[in-house]
């Protein structure tokens, strides 16, 4: 209505203006952008109807028309790929007017599905993104292998089946994983807890170093890994892909398949299935007894994806059972001493597919709903709801037929809602704000017959964020973001009365006491944390080939349930772990730079960072505790201040049209400032070199990759002494759990052959050899290094079909 009146008003005024038309030195300029993703549209024609005035947009999507007289005009904006728009406009003074064009529907899907489909989350922070199918080629353990090709990222492993990402020397609660717009909530705190996600049900993976993506939280000083589904085609079509991977090491493989149906009205449905099965893996010289795994996952996604609005409803179900090397199950530090002194695992049996205790079982179910609406002015409203249920069971070797009863049995349920408003544009300024909130319920099943490692608790979290950027021109952008989170933890935990008193909790936290059970006391710790996080950075294009990003990130993280409440025996390192109620939030400052150069045949990026954290929570050995099973080292969570500095470099060089050489190297220095000690479990200097050959006419290519890990010489001394009885004498022996293993080199070869099939299907065969030289090595970031060498040679055959 208003617009209508306004237009009438304009028409009326135009008569007056035409009469007074004398001073014809006015101009109109502006920018033409894509309605869908905001990118500039080059070569659009801006015409003033009825005149000879026109302008064509330049490489920045900008146009300018000079020499206009005051008056009313009709502008036509045309582009061969877009719907033409006409706009009435009144010119009294020179003005800037920006327009958005919408692509023709048939063009749109190409735009959406082109390389642009991975949107950068924060422009002032360098991110690494991949198409999942691109990284799938590295084998059945997608994520692990993929991260080996990203400088600055590594993997913390427990054997072969359990792997979690490490970014800038941090892991666990300091690295977040986001799937389809929601954070993943499983028992992420444990170094031997792998994320319960099937990577095959997503299309893209993005890695952001540092807590820059405040939309998803400000508590991940390490970084974020974001998995997402791509936008769907708007046409009637049915397509899918399947892959079969067979591997010699572990004598197993993976089958995954995915089918997707899309309709022209934007509706789409897809289903995905993954099955994995492996028996005992082997090191170069022996079988790693009890290391098999079984996985079965499926997901169903339903949605409607229009340009201006869309929704999706997903359900996914992930099930995994992983055996843990039997030789790693130890009774006390004496067993640990014997294991460390033995070059081989203490138990080597013949190959089997059976998965016996010790083992882990994980089940993760997720339901999510997302909705978005895009308004004409490019403002986007999004909201969503997500429910996740994570069941984690750990089985130990137990007496009296209890091996089949889990020793740890946790059920974590998370409800999460989120809403945001983005793309609010005011000239060069762009804003986004949003809210998300969750409630988490952790239940520790008492039927284990073993004291709870993690107690029952409820956790409430609400976060508000505000993000913005200022795009001065195409070569300079300033970005900032603020986030505030409130976290409330309401736990119910039994403490041994002796521990409760010894730690002085009885006086400090007497208000938490609920009921005395004799040897134990039931308590109700209620803890609150208020966290502020922020990010600001600039992105500057020095010229067409050179770009610099610089960013400052403040992140604050509340201690997790393990850091606060842990209470029990961790079998794999024979340690009794205690949490601490008095831990405060961890505060990290990080400065992150990236220099990117793309010129001719060479692309390189150099990304240094510096970070200082206060109240950095870590676990340290504090003494020995005598139990009926002998002496155990006690490890307690504590806080310190740490300093990290590191740099990642990666480059890619096209030697000629057939040969390509990639190189990456990264190093992190980490120091405990209060103790003046290095930090534990920091990846050593590591590098990879990759040479790829693509013949001129052939339908194949070959890649040779060399990984080199140096020896980590900076580590804290966590060794302790233990009295061994040797030949009738007590001998005090050191137990060395600190010294990292020597560095190693690993060579892999990938051969891909594209097979000719008909035009609707594509198939490909890959042959891969990993650890070609069958080198025996131990990886500092593999917790099984105390007990066995890493994997020996592995032959893989992959068959991939796209239809």
């Amino acid at each position: 209505m208003f617009r209508f009146f306004f237009q009438i008003n304009c028409l009326f005024l135009s008569c007056l203006n035409l009469i007074n038309a004398q001073s014809c030195f006015l101009s109109i300029d502006g920018k033409i952008s894509d309605l869908h993703d905001g990118s500039q549209i080059i070569g659009a024609l801006v015409k003033i109807e009825g005149t000879n005035f026109f302008s064509q947009t330049d490489f920045n999507g900008k146009y300018k028309i000079n020499g206009l007289c005051p008056g009313n005009y009709e502008l036509t904006i045309q582009h061969p790929l877009c719907e033409t728009i006409k706009k009435k406009i009144k010119i009294e003074t020179s003005l800037t007017s920006n327009f958005n064009l919408e692509h023709h529907i048939n063009e749109l899907e190409e735009i959406i599905l082109s390389e642009k489909k991975i949107f950068k989350l924060r422009k002032s922070v360098q991110e690494v993104s991949f198409d999942i199918s691109q990284i799938n080629k590295y084998g059945s353990n997608t994520m692990v292998e993929a991260l080996n090709y990203i400088s600055g990222a590594s993997v913390l492993k427990t054997g072969n089946g359990i792997a979690k990402p490490v970014i800038h020397g941090m892991y666990g609660s300091r690295v977040g994983i986001v799937t389809d717009n929601f954070r993943q909530y499983d028992q992420e705190w444990g170094p031997d807890h792998a994320p319960n996600i099937d990577f095959n049900s997503f299309e893209t993976i993005q890695l952001i170093k540092g807590a820059a993506a405040l939309k998803y939280g400000g508590d991940t000083p390490g970084g974020l890994i974001i998995l997402s589904s791509s936008r769907k085609k708007q046409k009637d079509s049915l397509f899918g892909n399947s892959s079969l991977i067979l591997e010699s090491n572990g004598k197993g493989g993976k089958i995954s398949s995915r089918l997707e149906k899309t309709y022209s009205n934007g509706f789409n449905i897809n289903g995905q299935l993954t099955v994995k099965r492996f028996g005992d893996f082997h090191a170069p010289n022996y079988i790693l007894s009890n290391t098999g795994l079984e996985e079965a996952d499926f997901s169903i996604k339903l949605g409607k994806d229009k340009i201006t609005h869309g929704w999706n409803l997903n359900y996914s179900n992930y099930n995994i059972e992983t055996a843990i090397l039997k030789s790693a199950h130890i009774g006390n530090i004496e067993d640990l001493f014997f294991a460390l002194n033995s070059n081989e695992p203490r138990l080597i049996e013949s190959f089997t597919y059976f998965i016996n205790a010790p083992k882990q079982k994980g089940k993760h179910q997720k339901i999510l709903f997302n909705y978005f609406k895009l308004f004409k002015n490019q403002t986007k409203l999004e909201f969503g709801y997500n429910f996740q249920a994570n069941r984690r069971k750990e089985f130990d070797i137990r007496r009296g037929g209890r091996t089949e009863i889990p020793a740890i049995d946790l059920l974590l349920k998370t409800h999460n809602i989120a809403g945001s408003l983005s793309g609010i544009n005011l000239n060069e300024w762009n804003f986004e704000f949003g809210i998300n909130s969750l409630i988490q319920d952790n239940f520790s099943n008492p039927n284990t017959g073993i004291k709870r490692l993690i107690p029952d608790y409820l956790k409430y979290e609400t976060g508000l964020y505000f993000l913005g950027n200022f795009q001065m021109n195409n070569s300079f952008l300033w970005e900032y973001g603020l986030r505030i989170d409130h976290i409330h933890i309401d736990a119910k935990k039994f403490y041994d009365l002796s521990v409760w008193e010894e730690k002085n909790y009885a006086t400090q936290y007497s208000s938490f006491e609920m009921q005395n059970y004799g040897n134990q006391i039931l308590t109700n710790p209620r803890l609150n944390y208020l966290n502020f996080s922020a990010q600001t950075g600039i992105s500057s294009k020095i010229n067409d080939h050179f770009k610099i990003n610089a960013s400052y990130i403040l992140s604050q993280r509340a201690p997790n349930a393990s850091e606060l409440f842990s209470d029990g025996l961790h079998h794999s390192i024979a340690a009794i772990e205690y949490g601490s109620l008095s831990l405060q939030k961890e505060i990290s400052h990080k400065l992150l730079f990236s220099f990117l150069k793309e010129e001719g045949n060479l692309i390189w990026s150099f990304e240094p960072f510096v970070s200082k954290s206060f109240n950095y929570i870590y676990i340290e050995p504090t003494g020995l505790k005598q139990t009926i099973r002998g002496a155990f080292p006690v490890w307690e969570y504590n806080a310190t201040d740490v300093f990290l500095v590191g740099t990642d470099f990666s480059s890619s060089y096209n030697i000629n049209s057939q040969l390509k050489f990639d190189f990456g190297i990264s190093y992190t220095y980490a120091q405990d400032l209060l103790k003046n000690n290095p930090l534990i479990l920091i990846p050593p200097l590591n590098t990879f070199q990759k040479l790829k050959f693509i013949p001129k006419r052939g339908k194949w290519d070959i890649e040779i990759v060399n990984h080199l890990n140096a020896t980590q010489n900076r580590y804290p001394d966590s060794n302790f002494q233990f009295d061994l009885i040797q030949e009738g004498q007590i001998v005090s022996q050191p137990i060395d759990i600190s010294t990292p293993p020597p560095g190693f080199q690993r060579l892999d070869i990938y051969l891909s052959i594209n097979l000719k099939t008909n035009k609707n299907t594509k198939s490909q065969i890959r042959m891969i050899v990993q650890n070609l030289t069958n080198t025996e090595f131990r990886d500092y970031l593999n917790r099984m290094r105390f007990y066995s060498a890493d994997l020996g040679r592995n032959l893989q055959i992959q068959l991939n079909f796209k239809y």
């Binding site: 009296g400 809210i435 073993i450 107690p455 609920m514």
Partner: protein, 181 residues
């Protein structure tokens, strides 16, 4: 108008969050620790009829020593208890006997020399004695340590050292020992 709608939607989200916030949780059940061993009891009977009982209790300071006379045979019967619930003391030895095929009691000594053999009424798996009941004979005088093990799933039952035996410790405690003339 649209902005108002958006505001309403956000308010709705906030309201939903407040609703979610208002729930509570039942008190957790106390855990009855099942496999736990809290006491190791050793009944040491000399051939002349005198006897000594050692009760090694995990929740106490244990200083009592085993007293033997050199070159005398003693029958030593070991048992394991779970007394974490004083009203329901559980005899774990029965479980060990039931799974005798994967358990072994083992004694190691420092600074004293004691010969240990399976008693005639010991629990046997084939010809192997589990050493629930054993015969001790000290060959020289002195004082030292006896290290008492209950080993689960040893890989080599016939080994003579703890290291060679493999498996993992369910019990490993030190009891002082004094051998006199």
């Amino acid at each position: 108008m649209k902005n108002i709608q958006i505001l309403f939607k956000i308010k709705f989200i906030v309201l939903a969050m407040i609703l979610i916030h208002s729930c509570s949780k039942d008190d957790p059940a106390e855990i009855n620790q099942q496999e736990y061993i809290s006491n190791v009891i050793m009944e040491i009977q000399s051939s002349d009829g005198s006897s000594q009982t050692i009760d090694w209790d995990v929740s106490e300071q244990n200083t009592e020593s085993i007293n033997l006379i050199a070159n005398n045979d003693y029958t030593v019967e070991i048992s394991f208890l779970n007394s974490s619930d004083p009203n329901d003391i559980e005899n774990v030895t029965l479980e060990v006997i039931e799974e005798a095929d994967e358990h072994q009691v083992f004694y190691d000594f420092a600074d004293v020399s004691v010969n240990v053999s399976s008693a005639s009424d010991d629990i046997k798996v084939g010809s192997r004695g589990v050493l629930i009941k054993s015969i001790w004979n000290a060959s020289s005088t002195g004082s030292g340590i006896s290290r008492v093990y209950l080993i689960h799933q040893p890989t080599n039952f016939d080994a003579t050292t703890r290291e060679a035996m493999g498996g993992f410790n369910d019990v490993a405690i030190d009891i002082p020992i004094v051998v006199t003339d």
